[in-house]
Each structure stands twice: as structure tokens, then as C-alpha cells.
């Protein structure tokens, strides 16, 4: 039982990332009808926002101290962070919390980027075939990825979680299991809560605001909404920006779990597409449900007992499920009838 809970928990944090990326993908597809292969690149850019912020916060001043010598006989270098010098303990705290702080930077950047992408590129592809949309966004993803690679190198750049969350929580004790039976890192708990908050607020935004109402109406029947005198294109542009923000902050918060490198976007993108397909193209609830479901299934498949039974299953389980779902129920688990069924 405790092993079961542990696997569920392990699956949840991956599932959270899948769900957040898939949510943006399906939102863009549902509103704009565009298949965006560059969405994973946005997730990756979000992660690199954290890298940039961390670098900026830890700018150092190097002073040579001639009175003390190192073992090599050269003057000792004394490095101090500017931030600590200026702000004292608060500066230290800021550096420690660089990952959450990065969100403040990531939100505006991702919003601008998303809107620019939609206005500058995607807009011209509404009327083109899906194949063209896939190809152009695929090209864009390569471009973004290569720029990041040129700037930050090909190696993963580890981002530590804040000190107070760096340990693990013994969740098992809370649930009445033996000590150390179910141990789960604090940061992953934070990530789960964070993912839940983001998901809830996106849903609330779409469900309870006038703006969200218009967007939902536009998803159902774009033309009629346009005829009512609403500038639906403009709203959809903002939706695209919103999707970019969701993917971006998901990327920021994921950095302590997975050190960002330039191809993490592509890795997550392929899986997120599968998630969207399983959940149902254009269905928000489906994307979230399928994201968590696939994350958990993947973590079960990587258990040793399962692997010895079916070798290699952990590598292919997600794709297998996608194949089965597409063949048996092409509109996905929660897809609307008639949307992209052929």
C-alpha cells in the first residue's frame, strides 16, 4: 500500500507538468484551431528564465585581499554577492528563493512572447492546412532551441530549490504508515500545490469572468461571436499569451526537479501532445485529467516489479496508451463530439 501511494505521488509531479503544458496546447487548439509544436519551447524558455534570474541575483564582486594568501601563494579572492551587500539578510533570502522569484520575471516575458508569436507568426496560419501549422511551429521550436543552446550551452544547468524546501517530507507518518515508508521531496509537494493553483485559476478565469465567457463562446462558435461585434481575434491573442504564461511558469517551477537544458522542451512537447490527444483535442478538463493519469501510469510502469514482467514498458507506456485511445476513441477521453474526429 505504501509503495502504491509512493508511485502515485511520484506520478503526480510529472503529471502536473504534463497537465500544465497540455492545458496550454489544448487551449490554443480549442480557440485558434492551431497545432502549436513550439509550445514545448515556451516551457523550456520559462525554465531558462529561472537560470537568468539566478545568474542576475548572484552577480558577484571579486576583491583581491593582499593580506591573505591562498595555498598557491596568490592573493585570496573574496567574492561577495552584490545583493547581499545591498540588502543584507533579505538579499540572501532572495538568492535562496531565486526559483520562485523568477516567476515574477517569467510572467511578463512569456505574455509578451506569446502575444508576439501569435501576432507575428501564428495569425498568418489560421487558414493554412494543419500540416503547414505543424511545420512552421516545428521550425520555430528548432530556432528557439538552438538560440538557447548557443547562449547557455548544451549541458543541463542545475537550479537548487530554496533551502527550506530542499529536504523530503515523511508523508507516510501522517497517513499512519511506518517511518520513512513514504518519503516525498518538499519541492515536489510545492510543485503540486502550485500546479493545482494555476489550473484552478485558469479554470476560474474561463468560467467566472466575462472575458472567459466570451472566450468559451468563441470556442463554441467563433463566427457568431464575431458577428455580435466582439473582437474575438484580440481575445484569442490574449488566450495565446495566457497559454504561454502557463507553460512558462510551469517551466520555472520545474527547474529544481529537472535541471533545464535546451532540449527539455522537445521532450515534454511530444509527451504533452500525447496527453492532449488522450484527453481530447480542445478539452481543458480532458487535458488535465489525462496529464495526471499518464504521469501516474508512467510512474507505475517504471516500478521494478512491472518492468520485470514487461521489460521496456516504462519507455513506451504513454505512447501505447495514446495508440489505443486514438484507435478506440479518437476524440479522446473527454473530447467533444465532432471535433477532429477523422
Amino acid at each position: 500500500m505504501d509503495a502504491f501511494i509512493l508511485q502515485v505521488l511520484n506520478g503526480l509531479d510529472k503529471g502536473g507538468a504534463y497537465a500544465l503544458i497540455a492545458l496550454g496546447l489544448t487551449l490554443v487548439f480549442g480557440t485558434l484551431g492551431v497545432v502549436n509544436f513550439a509550445h514545448g519551447a515556451i516551457f523550456m524558455l520559462g525554465a531558462f528564465c529561472a537560470v537568468v534570474v539566478k545568474k542576475a541575483l548572484t552577480l558577484e564582486r571579486v576583491v583581491l585581499d593582499p593580506t591573505e594568501l591562498t595555498a598557491w601563494g596568490t592573493p585570496m579572492e573574496i567574492r561577495t554577492h552584490y545583493l547581499e551587500e545591498w540588502l543584507g539578510d533579505f538579499g540572501t533570502l532572495l538568492i535562496d528563493f531565486s526559483v520562485p522569484v523568477s516567476i515574477l520575471l517569467a510572467i511578463p516575458i512569456m505574455l509578451i512572447l506569446g502575444v508576439a508569436m501569435e501576432r507575428g507568426l501564428i495569425r498568418h496560419f489560421y487558414k493554412r492546412p494543419h500540416a503547414d501549422q505543424i511545420l512552421v511551429t516545428f521550425g520555430l521550436a528548432i530556432v528557439i532551441q538552438e538560440i538557447v543552446k548557443a547562449q547557455f550551452g548544451a549541458n543541463p544547468i542545475p537550479q537548487p530549490a530554496p533551502d527550506m524546501f530542499s529536504g523530503s517530507a515523511d508523508i507516510g507518518v501522517l497517513l499512519g504508515f511506518a517511518k520513512n515508508a513514504v518519503v516525498y521531496p518538499w519541492w515536489r509537494i510545492i510543485y503540486l500545490i502550485f500546479a493545482a493553483i494555476i489550473l484552478a485559476s485558469v479554470f476560474a478565469f474561463l468560467q467566472f469572468t466575462t472575458f472567459g465567457m466570451v472566450v468559451r463562446a468563441g470556442m463554441a462558435d467563433r463566427e457568431t461571436v464575431g458577428l455580435l461585434g466582439i473582437d474575438i481575434d484580440r481575445k484569442f491573442t490574449i488566450v495565446f499569451g495566457l497559454a504561454a504564461v502557463v507553460a512558462g511558469v510551469a517551466g520555472v517551477m520545474y527547474t529544481p526537479i529537472l535541471s533545464p537544458d535546451y532540449h527539455m522542451g522537445m521532450d515534454f512537447l511530444v509527451l504533452s501532445f500525447v496527453v492532449v490527444v488522450v484527453g481530447g483535442m480542445g478539452s481543458l478538463g480532458g487535458a488535465v485529467a489525462a496529464g495526471f493519469l499518464l504521469g501516474i501510469l508512467q510512474s507505475f510502469a517504471s516500478m521494478n516489479e512491472v518492468k520485470s514482467l514487461l521489460p521496456g514498458i516504462d519507455q513506451v507506456i504513454i505512447y501505447l496508451i495514446a495508440v489505443v485511445v486514438l484507435l478506440v476513441r479518437p476524440r479522446g477521453l473527454m473530447g467533444r463530439k465532432g471535433v477532429m474526429e477523422d
Binding site: V35, L121, H124, R128, H130, A131, D132, I134, L135, V136, F138, G139, L140, A141, I142, V143, Q145, E146, I147, A150, M266, V270, F273, V274, V277, P311, G312, Q315, V316, Y319, L320, A322, V323, L326, L327, P330, M340, D342
Partner: protein, 382 residues
């Protein structure tokens, strides 16, 4: 000359093509591409792209998993070298057949859907093969290291014919002809011509017409009571066999097979080749693959020193800035150029280079004759 059963125009095209392949080294010499390794790549990826074009160009089904068949072809060929003989003929036959067999299985499932679902299904299958090749299938694929020849390989057939086991690793051969260098190029070139001819016949056949009908309107076609799936499946299997052959040739010219050949970026590359040249045209994919392989080779060989030399006529500060900027796009950054090219082509020239040629031709003709005699010509491939 009618035994080939083709029109005069096609015959001229074919003859021109054969001459171009024969003179390949001479044509490429002045622009620094006249060496066998590169020309072999032209021919091999030309075959790959022609095959992909039969699926994508004719039926419009965008497969994002064709590199899987390429990888399967390579593995098969290397296994044939290891188990049977260093002769390339059995290797490429096995590679083609196995590529086709896998295409049959994957196509049978994936073709139940169309549009982006088809793309995602093929992508899923390719990723599955890639992941499996890296993990559980390590006994067959040798995982990350890649499959290589070894001294202690069985090579049963070679053993039967009493081929001497040398001290070093054996090399691939075609009845004594080495498969590296120029003989390798002409072998690949010969197959390229054959494959080009087959694709020409498919384009001109009723079967090809049917595939094009699938592309223009599959619904309408099925309303006439016709089952389109056998046709699309046939196209998928044929293109899978082309990919298997190309993979086999890659292994024949350099007996190595690694899983990275199956990665989805590799699938993206063949899509790019086809689109760059012009999807649905006969020559387009070959031109596209040649252009990409050529620039990949040229661009990736640039480094900072060469760039600084090239811009030495600028004052020093500008020289460094320009070299640094250009350096983003060449050498290691070649993929960036590729991505940009990809976007530009899809945005501005969806018909690829062949459409560009047609447009220029049209301009040329329009300036000669008065506009009133101009008719809207349907885009014929040539």
C-alpha cells in the same frame, strides 16, 4: 526506347537525371562538394526523401516518424554484415524488406486516422522505437554505443565461400568492390536512379492518380464507394521500403547503426528536405536533400578562425562582431539556420524550390507574351 513505357518528356527527364548522377563529382567539384562521402549522402538521402514524398507529396499524410524505418534499415543491414556476409546486396535487400514490414504494421494502425492525429500516431511509434532501441532492445541495437562490426562476428556465408578473415575489421563490399569512396557513390547513385524511375512510374500511374485524389479530397473519394485505405497503406509501405533502403545504404557505406537515427528530429529533417525541394514534385525531394546535405556540410565546417579570415577586410572591432554574429548560424549553430530556413520556406514558399522555379518561369513567360494569352496553368510536376 519505348520499352520503359514512358512519355518522351519523362524519358528526357530520366536521361538528364542519369547524366546528372554520372557527372555528380564534376558538377559538385567547383563548389567544393566533389568528394565521395558527401555525394553518397546526397544519393542516400535523395532516396529517403523520394520515398517520403510518395507518401506526403501524393497523399498529403504528414508522417513524423519516418526516421524509424531508416533506423530499422540500418540495424538490419549491420546485422546482415555481422551474421551473413559483408556483401551489401543481401544487406540492402533485408533492410528494404524489414523497413517495409515495419511500415506495414505501423501504417496499418496509424492510417486509421488522418490529419494531425496521423502525424501524432506516427510520431508516437517512432518515439517508441527510439526509446526501445535505447533501452530494452540493447542486445539487438547495442544501445547508446550503437551497433558495430566486430572481429568475432559469425559471417556464415562469407565463411562458406572461404573468404579470408583478415587481421582488421572487414569492410563492406559488392563482389570485391569497396563500398566506400567513388565505387560506393556510384552504387548509391545507381540505386537512386532506379528508385527515381520507380517513383516516376508511380507518379504517372493510375495508382498515383488515386493517391493524389486522396490528397485533394478524401471524403469525396470515399463517397464514391471507394475504400482509400489500401491505397494509402500501399503508399506508406512503399515509402517505408524506400526509407529502409536508405538506412541500409547508410550502413553499407559506413557500417554503423545508432538509435539517434530514429529520433524525431531526424524525421523532421526528411520532412524539411521534401518541403524545401517541393512536396509532390518528382525532382523536388532530391534537390531538397542535396541542398540541405550540402549546406550542412559546408556550414558546419566553418569555425571562428575561418570567419575572422573571411571578414579581415573590416576594421578589427567590426570584424569580431560580424564574425560572432555569423558564427551563430554556422558550425555548431547550423541547426539554427536549418530551423530558420524551414520557417521561411513554409511561410513564403510552401511549394518549395520547385514552385520558385515555376514562378520564375512564369514571370519570364509573362514578360514575353501578352497577358491575355496566359492561362492559369495547373501546377504540373516535372
Amino acid at each position: 526506347m519505348n520499352w520503359l513505357n514512358i512519355t518522351k518528356k519523362d524519358r528526357n527527364l530520366l536521361i538528364g537525371f542519369i547524366i546528372a548522377v554520372l557527372l555528380g563529382p564534376l558538377i559538385m567539384e567547383p563548389i567544393g562538394g566533389g568528394y565521395p562521402d558527401l555525394l553518397q549522402k546526397f544519393a542516400i538521402f535523395g532516396i529517403f526523401a523520394i520515398g517520403f514524398n510518395i507518401l506526403f507529396g501524393l497523399t498529403g499524410y504528414l508522417s513524423f516518424g519516418h526516421a524509424a524505418f531508416l533506423g530499422i534499415g540500418s540495424y538490419t543491414a549491420v546485422w546482415s554484415f555481422k551474421l551473413f556476409t559483408m556483401n551489401v546486396i543481401p544487406a540492402i535487400i533485408f533492410a528494404t524488406l524489414l523497413g517495409g514490414a515495419f511500415a506495414l504494421i505501423i501504417g496499418f494502425i496509424a492510417l486509421r486516422r488522418s490529419g494531425i492525429y496521423f502525424s501524432i500516431l506516427t510520431l508516437a511509434f517512432a518515439q517508441m522505437s527510439y526509446n526501445l532501441a535505447y533501452s530494452v532492445l540493447t542486445p539487438i541495437t547495442n544501445g547508446e554505443t550503437g551497433l558495430q562490426l566486430r572481429l568475432e562476428d559469425a559471417r556464415v556465408v562469407d565463411g562458406l565461400f572461404g573468404v579470408e578473415r583478415g587481421a582488421g575489421l572487414p569492410t563492406t563490399e559488392l563482389f570485391g568492390l569497396a563500398m566506400s569512396g567513388w565505387s560506393g557513390y556510384y552504387f548509391c547513385g545507381f540505386l537512386l536512379v532506379v528508385m527515381f524511375f520507380i517513383s516516376l512510374r508511380i507518379f504517372r500511374s493510375p495508382f498515383g492518380l488515386m493517391l493524389r485524389a486522396v490528397k485533394s479530397n478524401q471524403h469525396r473519394l470515399s463517397y464514391t464507394g471507394l475504400n482509400t485505405r489500401p491505397y494509402t497503406l500501399a503508399a506508406f509501405v512503399i515509402s517505408g521500403m524506400y526509407a529502409g533502403l536508405a538506412g541500409g545504404l547508410l550502413a553499407a557505406t559506413d557500417p554503423l547503426a545508432g538509435a539517434e537515427r530514429m529520433q524525431w528530429t531526424a524525421s523532421g529533417e526528411v520532412v524539411l528536405m521534401t518541403i524545401l525541394g517541393g512536396a509532390g514534385t518528382l525532382l523536388g525531394p532530391i534537390i531538397g536533400s542535396a541542398v540541405i546535405k550540402y549546406f550542412e556540410n559546408i556550414f558546419s565546417s566553418f569555425n571562428e578562425g575561418i570567419l575572422l579570415d573571411a571578414f579581415s577586410f573590416f576594421p578589427e572591432s567590426i570584424q569580431h562582431a560580424v564574425a560572432a554574429f555569423i558564427g551563430l548560424f554556422v558550425g555548431e549553430g547550423w541547426h539554427l539556420t536549418l530551423g530558420l530556413l524551414f520557417m521561411l520556406i513554409v511561410i513564403f514558399l510552401p511549394g518549395g524550390l520547385m514552385e520558385g522555379v515555376t514562378r520564375i518561369k512564369k514571370l519570364f513567360r509573362a514578360s514575353k507574351s501578352s497577358p491575355s494569352t496566359q492561362k492559369d496553368q495547373p501546377l504540373e510536376e516535372s
